[in-house]
């Protein structure tokens, strides 16, 4: 049997020619926004990995309320691991995760969700044997307000009309794009204050991806949900993000405002690929 974690197991592979032109670390922007008191999420010196292999070697990341932040980096840089550690799916061996200033001692998924942090996992995590409606209801198991839950089911079916048509259909029969819509809607059913999105665009047609990003932008604007996006499609992500973290081999190689990244030719060529 083969291990199914290729994205994290792969060594970071950057284009050799790009590496030559890559700026030295001291040239990279490092505007670390240490807004302790006001940050919705703050990650300090996070170390985490799988089994004996450490993937993250001390990461500092913060997200302010209703902010949109994007994490970029090559395959194997630790982007997915970072989101999984924040969501409480894997334990961290060192460092702290703070939500609105409080240290989370035992980061477990239900605990992070209770504090308002939800994850749309890579590969969508569809509950394939359940109907679309039941998938959405599972997303709300932490909530007690029954009528609010069914109103939210209706609301997300309005946001994604494709889901409304298939409400009573088993989710395994949906297309990839529809399953990604369902994954976002399921995570939003818990009404998180921060949504972590892992590669929402993966394997989807450009027109579908644009639709998904439009929805992400809207839910950020309308319900004040902060977003922490991990993306291969840097251009789309930068279009909605105000800040960027650049991961390289499990550390933050650079961070700062989106404009600074777009304006820096060396960074653009080396990391954004255009």
């Amino acid at each position: 049997m083969t291990a199914v974690e290729p994205r994290e197991d792969d060594e970071a592979v950057l284009d050799e020619s790009a590496l030559v032109e890559a700026p030295a670390p001291e040239d990279l922007p490092h505007d670390d926004i240490r807004s302790s008191g006001s940050a919705l999420l703050e990650v300090r010196g996070l170390r985490a990995g799988y089994g004996g292999a450490t993937v993250l070697h001390g990461i500092d990341v913060s997200v302010a309320p209703s902010e949109v932040v994007v994490v970029l980096g090559a395959n194997g840089a630790g982007k997915t691991t970072l989101l999984r550690a924040i969501a409480g799916l894997i334990p961290h061996s060192a460092g702290e995760i703070l939500v609105t200033g409080d240290v989370v001692k035992r980061a477990r998924p239900e605990e992070m969700l209770r504090r308002g942090i939800g994850l749309v996992p890579q590969g969508r995590g569809t509950l394939t044997d359940l109907t679309v409606r039941d998938n959405l209801r599972v997303g709300a198991v932490t909530r007690k307000d029954r009528s609010g839950v069914s109103a939210d089911v209706d609301r997300w079916c309005e946001v994604f009309p494709a889901l409304a048509k298939r409400r009573d259909q088993v989710a395994g029969t949906l297309s990839g794009g529809e399953q990604q819509m369902l994954a976002i809607a399921r995570a939003m059913m818990a009404r998180p204050r921060l949504l972590l999105c892992d590669e929402v665009s993966l394997g989807l047609a450009p027109v579908v991806v644009q639709g998904l990003f439009r929805v992400l932008r809207e839910l950020n604007a309308e319900s004040d949900t902060a977003l922490l996006l991990v993306e291969q499609n840097a251009e789309l992500a930068l279009a909605i993000a105000s800040r960027v973290y650049l991961l390289e081999a499990g550390t933050v190689a650079a961070s700062g405002a989106t404009e600074a990244f777009r304006g820096n030719d060396a960074i653009r060529r080396a990391y954004l690929g255009y």
Partner: protein, 299 residues
């Protein structure tokens, strides 16, 4: 025709018992991907508890309810203290733990209550004249009772899974434990409850089973063949399918009865072999069983 109906009724009766134990196996497999080989011994242990209570003057129905509560607790405790900690370290070792539980529970029965057979009280009337004639064949009251009880368990289980918040969580964990956890489902608790529900169904089946199981007495080795037949039935139907367990159990019961009646050259002692042959053929031809979705890959 009468003989055929006789064999059909007898097959449906033992088939119903297989259905119940198969359902118990399916409830555990759906949640944790484990075939609990100790399932039959859970049922036997709680049957001894029920028997012991009746010898102290406890009415059988009450004793049965108590045995189901004991079964539920036994399932929860073994999942939490044995199965879960060991699964984290070694998935394959869970199977050995189940086999260990099998021998441990059987040993405990003999140690506590002694090795001799116990006369078990009948829950349902089963005198020589307690039957209705259908097409000239006798359908005994205890068979009717077992049909009704089996139908009741199926209905309650379907209600639990499809109409309750707990059932929604159980189905979510069955299809994708990680996504369920990400949605805030406490997966560990759902696993424990699944083992408890499974074991309680087994206890219920056990009390029904003893009076119709030759030699109609409670003994230490009586439940092993039942477990084998029920596992075969669950595999036939698909280990993660409730419908599969029902169809598989009934098909298996009737097939067994017909083989016994018509294929007399098998001599009655080859039934277990036939059961194993069915398991092998199904796994080769259709690894997910008739109604199942998930392959058995962890065994």
């Amino acid at each position: 025709m009468e003989i055929f109906l006789d064999r059909l009724f007898s097959g449906l009766t033992s088939g119903s018992i297989y259905v119940l134990i198969a359902l118990a196996l399916v409830v555990v497999f759906r949640s944790s991907g484990t075939i609990n080989f100790a399932q039959g011994e859970y049922a036997l242990f709680t049957c001894f508890v029920a028997w012991w209570l009746t010898t102290k003057g406890c009415p059988l129905v009450l004793a049965m309810l108590v045995s189901m509560v004991v079964g539920f607790a036994l399932g929860v405790v073994t999942e939490r203290t044995l199965i879960r900690p060991i699964r984290k370290r070694n998935e394959a070792a869970v199977l050995i733990v189940a086999l260990g539980l099998f021998t441990a529970l059987n040993g405990a029965d003999g140690w506590i209550w002694g090795p001799e057979d116990k006369v078990f009280p009948h829950l349902l009337p089963n005198g020589l004249n307690d039957y209705v004639l259908i097409g000239g064949a006798r359908l005994h009251y205890d068979s009717i009772g077992i049909f009704v009880a089996t139908g009741l368990v199926i209905a309650l289980l379907a209600l639990l899974l499809n109409r309750t918040p707990l059932g929604l969580k159980m189905r979510a964990v069955a299809t994708n434990p990680e996504s369920a956890a990400l949605s805030g489902v406490k997966v560990g608790n759902v696993l424990s409850v699944s083992w408890g529900v499974s074991s309680a169904i087994g206890s219920f089946a056990g009390v029904l089973l003893v009076p119709v199981l030759p030699p109609n007495q409670l003994n230490l080795s009586g439940f092993f063949p039942i477990l084998i037949f029920s596992s075969a039935a669950a595999l036939l139907g698909g280990l993660d399918s409730i419908v599969g367990a029902v169809v598989g159990g009934l098909v298996f019961g009737v097939a067994e009865s017909m083989l016994n009646g018509y294929a007399t050259f098998l001599g009655g002692s080859l039934q277990l072999t036939v059961a194993f042959a069915i398991i092998v053929v199904v796994l080769v031809v259709k690894p997910t069983g008739l109604f199942g979705r998930r392959r058995v890959e962890r065994v």
